[in-house]
Amino acid sequence: MSEQALPKLTPPPLDTLVLEREIAQLIVKGLNLPMQPDEIDPEAPLYGEGLGLDSIDILEIALIVSKQYGIQLRADNQENTRIFRSLRQFAKYVAEQRVK
């Protein structure tokens, strides 16, 4: 098996990390999750395994980001939304789309 160079993972810029932290706090509080915001692994899946959120939680999160950031979440299929792949992905999406 040939060796392949791993892609270089650069840490996200500081303002993205701040947004990640903010979103983690909103999610933990809004969903009454049994953990501290900084216990959420930013690369772990939000839906299903990982953080263990279900579709009701995803709807809650949609309401939270609507109120906080003015973003209207859309999806073709609620279960396969790319942006819920991780907190980091989600924060990037919010950073791009926010109007508040």
């Binding site: 395994e49 609507s66 979440l73």
Partner: protein
């Protein structure tokens, strides 16, 4: 035995469904049903797992015309699938997803290549009223799902009764959008059977986010009917989502507070009809929640109340069924609803029993004792959903691995938050854990592990 029409649409160009703003005619629907019926394997049982509601309807219809029974569990966990295979060993899964994860033989729904207008006469199949159309399932206390047989005649009778309770004289020309799955009893009746049997059109899409619901509704002409639940209606209001004009909103699966009903009616300018029913009885009563507390039973349905429980029979209900709720009849046709009997839980419209859930939690290897509890300390979330917690004695396990094992067995909405590991559960001499003891333990755990109740 008399036959009942598969669909009420009486012209080939009548609209049976909408997908992406494009109408699908009755002629096209029947041609797709014929094509799919020819592809179905010989078995007698189909688990219809199509997420597209039109394809679900074609699958249902193809099963009916070939005499196959549709299996409709409310959840599709690996454990449920194992039970279904034991219940109906020849069951296969019809799905529109090539990556369908269910451990069953699969038939993938494929769009048939059909000539435009094959000249075949427009003949609507007649299905025998006594034919077994579907099995639906509830959670038994032994941990195994309980099957309930639904005949075609009773299903049709129920949705025809539904039409008589709607505030319009007929539904022809309406489009019916559901936010609920077709596989759940309410979605099956109100978002699939109702359009098919009332000459209206069903939506293929099942939108989820408020903005998607608005877009789906806007893609079709009026009149439009929204079939939804308190969770989604609250979400629409909270998101302040604008919707195109609606003729009617239907809500079911959990009690809708009157003030929420009034807000919805005022915001969207449409009457809201709330439906009461169960997996066992199907839909059986309704009310205009914004205007009155009393429910009105579907035609012919009667209630009997004893000290112990309330039962329903008559009308479309095949046999006497014990109800999960406490009902107070006010006359022969009306009742007030007083909430659930103690063992049952309803989370975001999904129903289970604590006995069923406790069975599955205790069946996990390594769990020596465990109990679910209903969190009454949680603030109502934006969507108004409360959750369960659990106390577990499992000396060698951690919470994450127990949750993972539970995920194989029970629907995700019932997963406990939090799952607290404790040293033992102080059961009394008869093995019960009295409510006050459970509450004390939960409070104690909250003190010891405060971050878990943040």
């Amino acid at each position: 035995m008399s036959g009942l029409s598969l669909i009420a649409h009486d012209r080939p160009d009548a609209i049976v469904a909408w997908r992406g703003g494009v109408p699908i005619s009755a002629a096209r629907f029947l041609a797709e049903v014929r094509a799919l019926a020819a592809r179905l394997p010989a078995s007698n049982h189909v688990l219809n797992f199509c997420s597209d509601r039109y394809r679900f309807a074609v699958g249902l219809a193809a099963s009916l015309v070939t005499g196959k029974c549709s299996i409709l569990p409310s959840t599709h966990t690996p454990e449920m699938i194992r039970h279904l295979r034991a219940f109906a060993p020849d069951v296969f899964c019809l799905s529109d997803d090539p990556r369908c994860p269910l451990a069953l033989p699969h038939l993938l729904y494929v769009e048939p290549a059909l000539p435009a207008g094959d000249g075949a006469p427009f003949t609507v199949p007649q299905i025998d009223a006594a034919q077994l159309a579907a099995y639906v399932f509830t959670s038994g206390s032994s941990g195994a799902p309980l099957p309930h047989a639904k005949s075609w005649g009773r299903l049709v009778q129920c949705v025809r009764a539904e039409v008589t309770r709607l505030p319009m004289s007929g539904l022809e020309g309406c489009a019916v959008l559901g936010t609920v799955p077709a596989q759940h009893m309410y979605g099956f009746e109100s978002s699939v059977l109702l359009p098919l049997q009332s000459g209206s059109a069903l939506y293929a899409e099942r939108p989820f986010f408020p903005a998607d619901i608005a877009a789906a509704l806007a893609a079709v002409p009026a009149p439009r009917i929204l079939v939804s639940t308190p969770v989604h209606l609250r979400a629409l209001l909270t998101a302040e989502q604008a919707l195109p004009p609606l003729a009617l909103i239907i809500s079911a699966t959990a009690m809708l507070p009157a003030n929420l009903a009034r807000d919805v009616e005022s915001r969207y300018g449409a009457p809201l009809l709330e439906i009461y029913g169960s997996t066992e009885t199907g839909q059986m009563a309704s009310r205009r929640t914004a205007l009155e507390d009393r429910w009105r039973l579907w035609p012919g349905v009667r209630l009997t109340v004893t000290d112990v429980h309330c039962t329903a029979h008559g009308g479309h209900i095949a046999r006497t069924i014990a109800l999960a709720d406490v009902l107070e009849p006010t006359d022969d046709e009306h009742f007030l609803l007083h909430g659930r009997t103690a063992d049952l839980v309803n989370i975001a419209g999904k129903r289970s029993s604590l006995a069923y859930l406790n069975h599955h939690l205790n069946a996990i290897p390594g769990v020596t004792d465990a109990v679910f509890f209903v969190r009454d300390d949680s603030e109502a979330s934006l969507a108004g959903v409360t959750r369960l917690g659990a106390l577990v004695v499992a000396p060698k396990l951690d919470a994450a691995s127990i949750l993972q094992a539970l995920r194989q067995r029970i629907d995700p909405v019932f997963l406990p938050r939090p799952l607290l590991l404790v040293e033992h559960l102080p059961r009394n001499a008869t093995g019960k854990l009295p409510q006050h003891t459970l509450r004390a333990l939960t409070a104690q755990a909250a003190v010891l592990q405060p971050n878990l109740f943040a």
